[in-house]
Symmetry: C2
């Protein structure tokens, strides 16, 4: 029987699904907007729809899949498949048995993992990290997630490792929504960058960020909006992206000082869109924060691109023997 696995990347704005073969090659895909209605029901339906569409695109029935791996933002119990808490997904503020619910509907095994964790694992096994022994993945998007890979394994600690975005680089500095002050994410998370852009406009600064947002037809300052504004020479965009780069660089240098890893891999919505030019700026900005600047590790860009989260999620399902 054909071996087909589905991987789903559940995001705050979209649900991305891929169906891959035994060699991890993408055979089918689908993308659906994440419903914003209250309650988990509509999100569950949308996930099932994305799986069904991706399976159809790969010419298999959902029930013929060897399994579905789902990467979800927030706290995940990978043993039980319960999405403990996902503040960015409407209706998932409370624990929800996501894997079990989807499994019953689709008719195949379902496993759940953290979205950044599975994306970093994707880079480890199939992407920029495939020849590295150790690295730190920094996923720069709405928030800034991270994954620590040591001796070619994800490091979990007591279960909650990888919160580089919430490390402090500026005591008493900017607040993030959680109330923590001066963390890397307070400067670099896209949501917080948008809050700062709003505040700047209210204070009288000029920018094309929000005009571009409307032109493109977005409700948020998406990665594309930031990229286009930056390329147009917008001063506020340049300033806020510059501050985000410095914050990411400080936190990345800290983790290099502590763990002396072989590389930093930059991914996520903003990281992947900005690509190597911005990764190079992060590398330069790391220099003053490194104890040994002469042995600064490379800052690489995630290779699996937009589908990386979904492809990484498919790795949650082991190959059948």
């Amino acid at each position: 029987m054909t071996h087909r696995i589905c991987g789903v990347d559940l995001g705050g704005t979209k649900i991305e699904a891929v169906v891959v073969d035994a060699e991890h090659k993408v055979r089918g895909k689908a993308r659906i907007q994440t419903p914003t209605a209250d309650g988990p029901g509509s999100v569950v339906e949308a996930i099932i729809e994305a799986i069904t569409q991706a399976a159809a695109d790969a010419r298999v029935k959902p029930s013929e899949l060897s399994g579905v791996g789902i990467g979800a933002p927030g706290a995940v119990d990978s043993e039980t498949g319960v999405l403990t808490r996902a503040p960015n997904i409407p209706g998932f503020e409370q624990p929800y048995p996501l894997a079990e619910t989807i499994s019953k509907a689709v008719g195949c095994p379902v496993k759940l993992g953290n979205d950044v964790g599975v994306a970093v694992r994707g880079e480890l096994e199939l992407g920029a990290g495939r020849e590295l022994q150790h690295f730190v993945g920094i996923w720069w998007g709405t928030g800034v997630g991270s994954g620590v890979v040591l001796n070619r394994k994800m490091w979990h600690g007591r279960g909650a490792a990888g919160e580089l975005g919430h490390t402090v680089i500026q005591r008493g500095g900017l607040a993030e929504p959680s109330g923590m002050l001066g963390t890397m994410e307070a400067y670099a998370g896209r949501r917080n960058m948008e809050t700062r852009a709003h505040a700047a406009v209210e204070a009288g600064r000029e920018t094309n960020l929000f005009a571009l947002m409307e032109q493109i037809g977005k409700k948020r300052l998406s990665s594309r909006v930031w990229q286009e504004s930056l390329e147009s020479g917008d001063e506020l965009a340049a300033e806020l992206v510059g501050e985000a780069i410095d914050a990411i660089a400080a936190a990345a240098a800290n983790v290099v000082n502590i763990l002396d890893v072989e590389a930093i891999i930059l991914g996520g919505g903003l990281g992947s869109r900005f690509g190597q030019p911005v990764a190079d700026r992060v590398a330069v900005a790391m220099q003053p924060y490194l104890f040994l600047p002469e042995s600064s590790p490379p800052v690489m860009v995630a290779e699996l691109g937009d589908l990386g989260g979904a492809i990484g999620a498919s790795l949650l399902i082991g190959k059948q023997s």
Copy 2:
């Protein structure tokens, strides 16, 4: 034949040597002031003298030792036994074949390790970390060194891991002598605390720190001076120690956010002298910097005490079969 190992802790102010038996029990010890004359010759002689005295105290000849392990501050090549650079030891600004030189003089094998690395390994195998799977040791002294233990092994990365003292917590903040700004050590290293105390006195602040230093007969604000000043209610000492605690807490919380380790072990001259009351203050100060304050790991005090560095160094010599 009796199995006796010597461990040496080479410090900027003193050289501590112990001779231990196969069960790591201390059978002899010696302490010698670190010579301040230029050139490595006098320091090498002092190390040999410390080994000889500790061996005599344990009733063995130096040549009968199974080996000597030396923990040295600075960059160490543990393969070749070369002390690459030890800025705190007069005469060791250039690479020096320390293990080979001592081995020829003493007549037994000599191994070299980083001082904080061997002290943390001592805690891992014989001290506060003996039942932990993973922890970070923070050695609070003249500088602030650290050691990362993962799955009961020291983590070295590409060879230079463990520089938690040089991670940034306050971009653009206080300078440390290396020129790095706003690092934890800039606030918490004893040398930098002394610099700040001098500056405060020049700015008109009152303190008993320097009077106590002279009473005790020291040339530096030693750990004992800080402790006695703090206990006397000195306001400047309380303020600077408080700021050091907050800096250590911020960096410790960062490493917990990244690695989610089971514990922080606090050691070093100041850490060991201040003991559990200050470790408890570090734990409290970590709270606002933790992403998951409810699962804050314990902050423990190193158990091997003053001789921990020398005992840890003895572990560089494996047991003979």
